[in-house]
């Protein structure tokens, strides 16, 4: 019988990666033991008893690390403690951008699966933590912007005059971007969106928003529909067009990303300075460097009266919803991991960074 | 009885024509009511044919009847021509771009 260990997340984390409902399924469906640190669900307002009722047992952090075959967390929580042989860490470690986090794991008996690297195949959809979190972030980004914006989003005709609808510009129409579009549309804003992928156009329109087209994109829909880097000339053209749209917008939601690469800079300092004071930029790509030149990861700053929120983890503010989705994602991944019989399962290979303390992932070995 | 037997064909003809008259307009959209009324009115001016036929029979010296007949022909023609012209004018107004169905 394999053991699954749940460790308390760092303080800044509001989510958990396994809720009692999925603990129960782990125990019942996957026939595993689940052990957890006391107070594991406290941020979610889930008392320990609920976890215990679901079939998990309380344990000390050290013993959890020592006895578990699988150690589940969202963030890196391992500091070099003793481990079981063949133990596996499963989390969303974002190691490509934080190579330093690898160090603690190198040369341990442990394997490390980082779910952000999961190939985005159809089969992996129900374990796809990036999609889950991105959608929540997209939703939250609009709410956050609406909260910070000192005007209102919908049009508003009253006896005291008419308030114009806010213009919302969404950069990058991936998972987060589409959700942002949908949410802003719901609130009655005038929404424009931009993306380099040509198929994005139809997707944007299917949500009733306007798509800004920049001619001359070179497509390459390999690697699961991700974007690829573009020519300098194209980027130039794009920027010029973008600039006018940015400066007309009251709210800009940035979600443009290129996996494993620095995020493209789409909003320059100058554009920000030309925006109307009081405008809001929410940059979900902040962790990857940000789509806005001025955005600071994890901080809300102000420049020329424009508020810039740099936050790639807005999903944390929806802790309950996020935990619910993560919990299902983790469960599905564990189910796949435990039941997988294939020798080289592409899903597992895609997200396994370390095998028994050795780097095995191509993206890490190459460079 | 006998009358029916003799005029069977005529009766069939009339009934069938009436039936067609009703049938043909039973699905007319309400906005065409007025033009259709006008068109039907023009057709009813076919009485003009009757006026012509009778004119052909009148003695060329029977001035009273010639005058009456002339008036009848004139009135019938007015009904026919006016009716068709005005219907045409009415229908022209529907000529907004309406054929951009997908």
């Amino acid at each position: 019988m394999q053991t699954i260990g749940l460790l308390k997340e760092p303080n800044f984390e509001t989510r958990v990666c396994l809720l009692p409902k999925e603990v129960e399924r782990m125990v019942k469906e996957l026939k595993t033991n689940v052990v957890f640190e006391a107070g594991y669900g406290s941020k979610q307002l889930v008392p320990d008893e609920t976890y215990q009722n679901a079939g998990a047992e309380i344990a000390q952090k050290e013993s959890i690390l020592k006895e578990s075959d699988f150690i589940l967390s969202i963030n890196t929580v391992y500091k070099g403690q003793e481990l079981k042989t063949n133990a596996s860490f499963i989390g969303i470690f974002n190691l490509l951008f934080h190579r330093d986090r690898l160090e603690n794991y190198l040369n341990t008996p442990a394997s490390v699966y980082s779910l952000d690297l999961l190939p985005r195949t159809t089969l992996a959809q129900n374990m796809d933590v990036l999609s889950s979190m991105a959608s929540l972030s997209g939703y939250k980004a609009v709410l956050k912007a609406a909260e910070l914006f000192h005007g209102i989003l919908p049009m508003f005709t009253t006896a005291a005059g008419t308030l114009k609808p806010a213009k919302v510009l969404v950069l990058g129409a991936g998972v987060a971007g589409l959700q942002a579009i949908a949410t802003a549309k719901r609130l009655g804003a005038v929404v424009e969106a931009f993306d380099v992928r040509t198929s994005a156009k139809e997707e944007v329109k299917s949500l009733g928003a306007k798509f800004i087209e920049v001619p001359g994109y070179k497509e390459s829909e390999s690697a699961g529909g991700y974007a690829v880097e573009q020519s300098q000339e194209y980027l130039q053209k794009q920027k010029a067009l973008m600039k006018t749209h940015i400066e007309a917008a009251s709210i800009v939601i940035c979600t443009a990303n290129i996996p494993g690469k620095k995020a493209p800079v789409l909003i320059e300092k100058e554009s920000v300075e030309n925006m109307v004071p009081g405008a809001v930029i929410v940059d979900l790509a902040a962790e990857q460097g940000g789509n806005c030149e001025l955005s600071q990861n994890g901080k809300t700053s102000e420049h020329f009266g424009v508020k810039i929120v740099g936050n790639s983890h807005l999903a944390r503010e929806l802790s309950q919803a996020a935990s619910q989705l993560l919990s299902t994602n983790y469960f599905n991944f564990m189910k796949h991991l435990i039941n997988s019989s294939k020798a080289n399962d592409p899903l597992l290979e895609g997200c396994m960074v370390l095998k028994n303390g050795k780097l095995v992932h191509p993206l890490f070995i190459e460079s | 009885m006998e009358f029916i037997q003799n005029n069977l064909e005529q009766i069939y003809f009339i009934i069938l024509c009436a039936f067609i008259g009703i049938e043909i307009i039973s699905n007319v959209p309400a906005i065409l009511h007025t033009p259709l009324m006008s068109g039907a009115n023009a057709i009813s001016g076919i009485i003009l044919v009757g006026a012509i036929i009778i004119m052909l029979d009148i003695e060329p010296t029977d001035y009273l009847n010639l005058t009456l007949g002339g008036i009848a022909v004139f009135m019938g023609t007015l009904n026919v021509s006016g009716g068709f012209f005005i219907t045409g004018r009415m229908l022209k107004m529907f000529n907004t771009k309406k054929n951009n169905q997908k």
Partner: protein, 462 residues
């Protein structure tokens, strides 16, 4: 030879048929009119040709020819000159000429073969003459009424008198043919003609002016009967067919028109008006013009610039989607459509915005009241949907009104105004609305969503 003529006749019968058929489809109506006209020309030409071959005196032919030419020219010029809004009058007038023609025909014919022809033929002749006379005088009265020259004259006495005349007209032939009446055939004919003319007047007089279109359609059907009778007398298939087509179609059309106005033919003829649940409030009854959906769509189809004024009723009916669909339909027909949003329309600030945003109405279609209030008269058609107080002109004129001083959308300045609401109930402010009584305004009673959906259905057909 005569076979060729028979076939020509047959051809024109079918051209009438086809013409009527096409005329009942919006797309082909124009061709239909052409076709029927072509058939008419054919049959007239054929008849005239028969005259030419049959050695008829030239004077007769000349008269015929001149009368035809004159009639055509006059018909063309009249119908070219008349204003669009006067159409029904004109149709009525033309119908009168048709009826008059039948009347004269009957009179002439009665002199010719008074006693020679059988009883059947005589009866047919009388019916033709009678119906022609009624159509003639009735149509003229209808025309006068439509032009407002004669007012409604609806007393019990008139109605009763009309019915007695009808009775006499029906009894007279019985008396005559049973030999009770000691008069000659011509005298008898004149008596019938005179009485019929009288009855035509009495028949139309008591009917309300708004119902005249229905009456005209009915009189048209009556002319059809006259024509068919004449056709039977001359044993002329085209006349029979044409007459029967017109009378059957006309009668049915009359019924359809009544149905579209939500009234029964009987009620129209007796001049009874639907009372309905208007003005449940204690207010003095307002006199308003009620409109049927087809009439409204007909007017709408001529408009190039339309304003929609939405109000609380749109929200109550949840008719926003229907409204947007309606707008798109109009736009497809290249009509310009604006929504004019009053600041306090609805029950909360921005109420209309919420609704229209939900229906994905483009913000560029929305106009603010102040923006357009001075140019309201550029709108051919103003459709007020479930709004009341915000278009109440008393806010501008009546100092004692509870809404006095509130800026309003000057819907009343539109060339045509139609208000969709369910009843004569007042709006939020509880005051009656003078707009409804205005001359350019008509009411369309019903739930906003239902009404709009029906309008959409009709609009799609054009």
């Amino acid at each position: 030879m005569s076979t060729l003529i028979e076939m020509g006749y047959m051809l024109s019968i079918f051209s009438f048929l086809g013409g009527l058929k096409f005329m009942s489809s919006p797309k082909k109506a124009k061709q239909g009119n052409m076709l029927a006209a072509a058939g008419m020309i054919l049959v007239v030409a054929l008849t005239f040709y028969v005259g030419l071959t049959e050695t008829v005196p030239y004077i007769n032919l000349t008269i015929i020819f001149l009368a035809i030419v004159l009639g055509t020219i006059l018909g063309k010029s009249i119908s070219n000159k008349v204003e669009m809004t006067k159409m029904p009058q004109l149709i009525s007038l033309f119908n009168a000429t048709g009826g008059g023609c039948a009347l004269i025909l009957g009179i002439i014919e009665s002199q010719f073969d008074a006693s020679t022809s059988g009883l059947g033929n005589q009866i047919t002749l009388i019916v033709g003459l009678l119906t022609g006379a009624v159509a003639f005088s009735g149509s003229i009265v209808a025309e006068r009424k439509l032009s407002g020259k004669i007012k409604e004259y609806k007393t019990k006495a008139a109605i009763l008198f009309g019915r007695s005349v009808l009775l006499v007209i029906v009894l007279l032939p019985f008396l005559y043919f049973s030999g009770v009446l000691p008069i000659g055939f011509p005298a008898f004919i004149f008596a019938v003609a005179g009485l019929s003319l009288l009855y035509g007047v009495l028949f139309v007089l008591p009917i309300g002016g708004a119902d005249m279109p229905v009456v005209i359609s009915l009189l048209n059907a009556i002319t059809g009967v006259a024509t068919a009778c004449a056709g039977i007398v001359y044993n002329n298939k085209v006349m029979i067919a044409g007459g029967i087509f017109v009378s059957a179609a006309g009668l049915f059309l009359t019924i359809l028109m009544c149905r579209a106005m939500n009234r029964s033919l009987l009620k129209v003829l007796t001049g009874t008006f639907k009372k309905g649940n208007k003005s449940s409030s204690a207010e003095a009854e307002q006199v308003v013009r009620e409109l049927s959906i087809p009439e409204m769509v007909m007017q709408l189809s001529f408009a190039k610039k339309v304003a929609i004024v939405p109000g609380y009723g749109l929200a109550v009916a949840q008719a926003q989607h229907a409204c947007a669909q309606f707008q798109h339909l109009l736009e497809e027909r290249e009509t310009e459509v604006h929504y004019i949003i009053h600041p306090v329309a609805g029950r909360m600030p921005g109420h209309m915005n919420v609704l229209l945003a939900e229906a994905k109405v483009d913000y560029s279609n929305l106009k603010e009241m102040d923006e357009v209030n001075d140019e309201m008269d550029t709108y051919d058609f103003v459709l007020v949907i479930g709004a009341n107080d915000v278009v109440n002109p008393m806010a501008e004129t009546d100092e004692d009104s509870a809404v006095y001083g509130m800026p309003i959308i000057r819907a009343y300045r539109g060339k045509q105004v139609v208000v969709i609401k369910r009843s004569m109930n007042t709006g939020y402010a509880g005051v009656s609305n003078r707009l409804f009584e205005m001359e350019n305004c008509a009411l369309l009673f019903g739930d906003a969503k239902d009404s709009l959906q029906q309008i959409i259905g009709q609009l799609k057909m054009i």
